[in-house]
Symmetry: C2
Subunit: 350 residues, 2 copies
């Protein structure tokens, strides 16, 4: 899933160049490229599908040249994760009705590839042999309020797989602390594993309107007419997430809980937490000269020199035609800044 | 005089593009262009001479297309103001031995053109009719420690002209306060007015080595051989200022004291003091969105958008390949930052 348009990492992320295509962590690889490589270790190139906005098709193929053009499914507009997943599921059904499907965001970070691989393969094996909608839960290490939580049922079904008891959206800090203490709440990673049959059954049952729309163009998948057919039905789909539309309702939800150093890097704060820090606790590259500066994230193009003096706990980002300087504790205001800029200056800087 | 290479406004000023060529105040005109226009109101174009580094010749002519190429005198290297003035004086002597000469820095600011013009014309008139080295003193309005001071003799010689009693280089704050209170100390504007004859007599008397060098190529001024002749003698000149070399020694120093809203804009602080401030007391253009930000100078290319949050009394400058963020109270450290950058990165950012 690579269709997102977020403003959270503005001005690094832009409408024309959202987070999944960026190397915000400075690893040398964008999130989508890292995501591809994470799976390519054990999944053949021909088995990938990328669902993205039509505007990003070229960028996807530029960043993952291993893919054929028809492996990039284009949404004419964003409708949240349920239609995105339905599209991929129906395309897969046309290609291989016995397929097992792994759904993943393309803008997350993981650090432990060995654990990641074994968890995914375990989930795929379980989904292959059971009527199961499996999600991956991440053992929390702090009372994060920005994530969804999954409560697991007490007794494991088998080999690390549990039934899901409840899903909870972003909790308050107090609730998050209680979740952390209880030990049976896990972060919802947004990674799902299921057989094509099981997810399509679930669409039929829980999101029948979306299901009918995608069924109505069954003859078009994988053919030249697919693009036009999708363009016709997509705007009619409800804007709804797979969590809200199916996972929170189905009795077939399972979770495998693990810890492979996951983060959605959804905030500058999580970027800070997941970055290698300098001696002065800054995030900065070798072109940065920092004086009396601590706890500060400095992200500028690699050919730019930065001299900072006297900053404590700031975000400094320059990207293309925009410079942003903001206190780390106030990053939640950036969304509003972007709105203000849009209102006064139009889309030029968005 | 347009040969200076300063690092004080780094990164706006660079070795390749020093302060005199910049529009640091955001007026739409560079300092050198403003300086030209200030005098062009009462001096014909053909009477200007610009002394600058050979590397800046093209830029001078680009910014003052009213000048002919042979009105730009090129120094092969910088040797402070005394050789610069000697060069112009000897060139003038060859062209018009009866000339009156006005010497001015090209990177200062004045706000009151009427007063300026009348002071200069008064000085020129006095210098025309007397053996006088006239300098312009500025009535101080604060105990500035960054300027040289001129103490005037008690009795005016005539019409606003006084004898100079002493010159004092940058004083301590305590001394500057005493100067301000006493009422007979004025800032040294670096503007001089004298007849060509008088200044050449002064060079003969007080800087005879420099004088001999420029006399030795008397046949070359205004001819194609001038460039080569200057290239030969210039490196042999002492590096010395006109103040130290002549003005502080001569008994013929006079001063006209006035107040035409002068500043050398030698520091970010003086830029701040001489800029139009926003409602929040910032220096910022209409492409700046400032939140909880006061007392901050924001200077970036005009096509750049800036969003700042939570800055108080900072300098934020972006220019070409460099971003500088520094507390206003620590601007004196910028010189050191530039040294550090030079040491680690070479001249690429200098």
């Amino acid at each position: 899933m690579a269709g997102g348009v977020g403003s959270r990492f503005w001005p690094m992320s832009r409408q024309a160049h959202p987070k999944q295509f960026l190397d915000i962590l400075g690893t040398g690889k964008s999130f989508i490229r890292q995501t591809y490589e994470r799976f390519a270790e054990f999944i053949p190139d021909s088995n990938f599908l990328v669902v993205t906005n039509a505007n990003y098709k070229t960028e996807v193929l530029r960043q993952i040249p291993e893919l054929d053009i028809d492996q990039v499914l284009c949404e004419p507009l964003g409708r949240n994760t349920a239609p995105c997943i339905a599209y991929a599921a129906y395309r897969l059904l046309a290609q291989d009705p016995e397929a097992t499907m792994i759904v993943t965001p393309s803008d997350h970070y993981t650090s432990n590839q060995e654990v990641f691989k074994s968890v995914i393969l375990n989930a795929a094996d379980f989904a292959d042999n059971n009527r199961a909608l499996v999600t991956i839960g991440i053992r929390p290490n702090r009372p994060a309020t920005g994530y969804g939580y999954i409560q697991v049922a007490d007794t494991p079904v088998q080999n690390g797989v549990n039934k899901v008891k409840t899903f909870t959206e972003k909790p308050t800090l107090e609730v998050a602390r209680a979740f952390l203490d209880s030990g049976d709440f896990f972060w919802n990673s947004g990674i799902f594993i299921w057989s094509v049959k099981t997810i399509i059954d679930a669409f039929e049952k829980w999101l029948p309107e979306i299901d009918s729309l995608f069924k109505s163009i069954a003859d078009d998948y994988g053919k030249p007419s697919e693009r036009e057919a999708i363009a016709k039905i997509y705007p009619e789909c409800r804007n709804i997430s797979i969590d809200y539309g199916i996972m929170e309702k189905t009795p077939d939800a399972y979770v495998i809980c693990s810890d492979f150093g996951w983060s959605d890097i959804g905030t500058w704060e999580s970027l800070y937490q997941n970055s290698r820090l300098t001696f002065d606790q800054n995030v900065a590259n070798e072109n940065t000269f920092a004086y009396n500066t601590t706890g500060t994230i400095i992200k500028v193009p690699s050919d730019k020199l930065v001299v900072v003096e006297g900053l404590k706990d700031y975000i400094v980002v320059e990207s293309d035609n925009v410079l942003l300087i903001c206190r780390r504790e106030n990053e939640q205001n950036i969304k509003q800044f972007v709105e203000d800029v849009k209102l006064k200056k139009g889309n030029k800087f968005i």
